[in-house]
Symmetry: C2
Subunit: 326 residues, 2 copies
Amino acid sequence: MTHEIAVIPGDGIGQEVTPAAVEVLEALEPDFEFVEAEAGDAVKDETGEALPQETYDLAAAADATLFGAAGDTAADVILPLREAVDSFVNVRPAKAYPGIDAVRPETDLIFLRENTEGVYAGHEDRLTQDVSTLTRVVTESASERLAEFACDYVAGDDHDGFSIVHKANVMRETDGLFRDTVKGVADENGVETDQVLMDAFATRVCLDPEQFDVVVCPNLAGDVLSDLAAGLVGGLGLLPSANIGPDRALFEPVHGTAPDIAGEGVANPAATIISAAMLLEYLGYDDESDRVHTAVEATLEDGPRTPDLGGDASTEDVTAAIIDRL
Amino acid sequence: MTHEIAVIPGDGIGQEVTPAAVEVLEALEPDFEFVEAEAGDAVKDETGEALPQETYDLAAAADATLFGAAGDTAADVILPLREAVDSFVNVRPAKAYPGIDAVRPETDLIFLRENTEGVYAGHEDRLTQDVSTLTRVVTESASERLAEFACDYVAGDDHDGFSIVHKANVMRETDGLFRDTVKGVADENGVETDQVLMDAFATRVCLDPEQFDVVVCPNLAGDVLSDLAAGLVGGLGLLPSANIGPDRALFEPVHGTAPDIAGEGVANPAATIISAAMLLEYLGYDDESDRVHTAVEATLEDGPRTPDLGGDASTEDVTAAIIDRL
Ligand SMILES: CC(C)[C@H](C(=O)O)[C@@H](O)C(=O)O
Ligand SMILES: CC(C)[C@H](C(=O)O)[C@@H](O)C(=O)O
């Protein structure tokens, strides 16, 4: 069965790393039809819209989307795209690779971030000159859906359970509902959980990342704590992510457009290529996905390396080396 | 002039480290009158109330309060106590001390955390079985008051300005108001600022903490990011904090009740003693405050040390060593 893959390079190094990941995918000859579309600062400058309707519709119809990065318009692009694929969970692995300089080389975490609500629900008001408000929304249904995904996730691999990270000592009703709902679903499925306050998690993950494995959390907590984990593994350059929906999904590196090096052909394509490996697995190409992971890890360990990792190779050199090792 | 100091040891190791800090204060013979009061799990078990009205009233009337820690009732104790002193800013230094094993020994940060609103404003509802909401509040007036404090703070010492940390790309109205108001006050005062998204801050502070100095942020961001910094300096055991109001203030270590070691007399009193040094400075005892800081640093470097720092000294040994060095 042919899968339609939307490819949205976006801005900056998105224009360099996204084609690199497509090259890797093509080398594996899956039954994919790639369709490219525009989003981001550049298309906004031209047309007034950061996310043209055609691009939204394409992501909403494709089997999977590969997205690069967007500049100042990032929120206007990525938040609606997550909605286009009806994504309820953002899967963010944060793993330190052998041979890469990391603050905490033992880090190997998977964040399962709620992807639809929390402060991202986006209801804000300016009530008076002085007072502004934002309505943070937490639902039982979204918490349940996330928890069911988390239970399947830990069952499919050798995980002992997951940690529920929240701030229910302050956000008693909303994070209380989140925590209790997720815990309830885990209990029903016989999955072990522990509960950690998000501030305590921030301290503890720095001191000893190995005490955590799979982390289930609300939207903003997942945003901040996965970026913290990115710091522990040595930066955003290696972190992939998957926005999973019931029928389709969107894959993106966690990094941004890197305007300082954009256009120079030296961006590290690893995060986008690992995101492409997640895309392969999502569509059932498990063997091909494993081959990409293995080839990327070998290349990270033995080179060639882009300048962000202390090397002087180009994006193209690294991509070719990964394809060679497939 | 005699200053009245409320002393609230609370639960667990609060009962050990708070008297230690009072001993250090007494050794300096300031014109203080100490009045002790109860709060926390133990008094709740006895009376049904984690924060008795007398304790609240005492903190609301004293010139300064020294608080230890509270257990499960922490939020029910510390949030009203911050309100009792009308605290609008939580000052949280996170500094790695020489000789202490730290993930990032270069860390030397000051968080100025908004202390009255954000998600802590505490308006929550369960609208239906499925839907819960929390109203996050950000006001121009609280942002202004914090920014004025921050401008004074950086002027008084050798700081080049401050970083404004926020998530205004998602919380556009509320964190937009925070960011713009703080920036406006800084501009008026000729104070330099830069702006950093809170997720990007989490990555960047791990990779290179020296790029930051004074960090001004909303309430929950300050909670999580200062705890992250605590992880970078080697744990919560050394971190003091000050909740400053217009007429009074409350000082507390950032750590909790440490139930695993409570009652054994081996709790590290450093964070509470450094909090007491901040109290001395607040009340105008600058010289005495410096002496405490210097004595604590010398003791951290040369010992004796409590077990959390790899030693086998008691709380009393460490306190005596600090007093010896005053
Ligand atoms: C660009 C921004 C809206 C986005 C988010 O906050 O989710 C980004 O930080 C991310 O984590 O993908
Ligand atoms: C106990 C809790 C309510 C409190 C907070 O969230 O402010 C604590 O984490 C802190 O940082 O002092």
